[in-house]
């Protein structure tokens, strides 16, 4: 601990300058005075080998990454080459099988899909019609205006609630 009276007196002067700025409500002066005072607080230093360890770790990761990328590229090239080779060898048989499969599946499923889509569409159209009738009966311009008003009030209340809750949680009060 330092017990030098001159340094202690300097500390005291700087402390007083900061505290007076705080008490005076001068935010900028307090900020500057405290920054000056706080500059005496030493930083925690890393060990001497820290930089070397960090660089070694980063470059080891870089080397691993480059190896992985090289392997991935090699694997991709091999896969593409293998796929191309097998396609060129087996293409007539493969193409015939694929076309037959598509034709079979398509021939059996498309009519069903069309039929189901028609039924579903009919159901939706019916619901839409019912909805339009109900809306036409219940909704007058006055009711629509009232409904929109209620919605707006609700949205504003929800927004205000979120603002208040957020401010409380974060202690967001202006100094």
């Amino acid at each position: 601990m330092n017990s030098d009276p001159i340094e202690s007196d300097m500390d005291r002067k700087e402390l007083n300058a900061w505290l007076m700025a705080e008490e005076g409500g001068d935010e900028e002066a307090a900020d500057a005075a405290f920054a000056h005072l706080f500059s005496a607080v030493p930083r925690v230093e890393p060990r001497p080998m820290f930089v070397e360890q960090v660089v070694i770790a980063a470059w080891a990761w870089r080397a691993r990454r480059r190896r992985q990328m090289a392997l991935l590229w090699a694997a991709a090239v091999v896969l593409v080459a293998a796929a191309a080779a097998s396609a060129s060898v087996a293409s007539p048989v493969l193409a015939r099988t694929v076309v037959k499969t598509i034709a079979f599946v398509g021939g059996h499923t498309v009519p069903w899909l069309v039929a189901y889509a028609s039924v579903a569409l009919h159901g939706w159209l019916t619901l839409g019609h019912v909805g339009a009738v109900i809306a036409g009966t219940l909704m007058t311009p006055g009711r629509v205006a009232a409904l929109v008003g209620v919605e707006l009030v609700g949205i504003l209340a929800f927004y205000a609630l979120r603002r208040v809750a957020g401010a409380e949680r974060l202690g967001d009060v202006q100094v």
Partner: protein, 202 residues
């Protein structure tokens, strides 16, 4: 006389594969990084591990760095994320505002220790008292104090880093200084007294 290259230039060169540029960046930011993580976790070995992990993540994400932004601000954001991730996994309640009590004086696990002797050794009396008081602040206050007054980040930069409104950062700084003044006064460093009162501790 050699012109010192900017952080952004070093980051660009490091991204391009220059080990020397990366080494220079690490050298520049080693102390701020370890100091910052230490203030968050209060354990030197862990602080260095987190700082190293932070530097690695920075290297891995150099391609996301926007040169229009100040490098230090981006760097501390990455470092903070690494630290917060660690604290979340290890369930140390240091950064959760929700866990703080209403009077704002709850002391988390990492704050219960007093400043280490080596940290206090060699400092002036007021600096020692300030270091000890800093360790008693709420983590979010301690964080903004270190970023603002030791690392020199501006309030808008801190706000962007922490994802908080600028007003909240300003409030944190104001309250942190106020609490530090109270803690120092409890240690005998009040404006009225001429000398620190012996025997008073935090």
């Amino acid at each position: 006389m050699a012109v010192q290259r900017s952080d952004a230039e070093l980051a660009r060169d490091a991204r391009a594969g220059s080990e020397a540029a990366y080494r220079e960046l690490v050298t520049r930011y080693a102390t701020p990084a370890v100091n910052f993580t230490y203030r968050m976790v209060r354990d030197r070995a862990l602080a260095e591990d987190l700082a190293q992990e932070g530097f690695l993540r920075v290297y891995q994400r150099l391609h996301t760095f926007d040169p229009a932004r100040r490098f230090s601000s981006w760097f501390f954001q990455v470092l903070r994320n690494v630290t917060i991730d660690h604290l979340r996994v290890h369930r140390i309640p240091t950064a959760s505002l929700d866990e703080l009590e209403e009077d704002g004086r709850r002391v988390s696990i990492v704050d219960r220790e007093d400043a280490s002797p080596e940290e206090l050794a060699g400092q002036g009396e007021l600096a020692s008292a300030m270091t000890a008081a800093l360790s008693r602040l709420r983590p979010e206050y301690r964080e903004v104090v270190v970023l603002r007054y030791q690392e020199g980040l501006t309030q808008p930069e801190i706000a962007q880093m922490l994802g908080l409104p600028a007003g909240t950062v300003k409030t944190y700084l104001h309250r942190a200084r106020k609490e530090l003044a109270e803690l120092l006064a409890a240690r005998g460093w009040s404006p009225e007294s001429r000398e620190p009162t012996p025997g008073k501790t935090l």
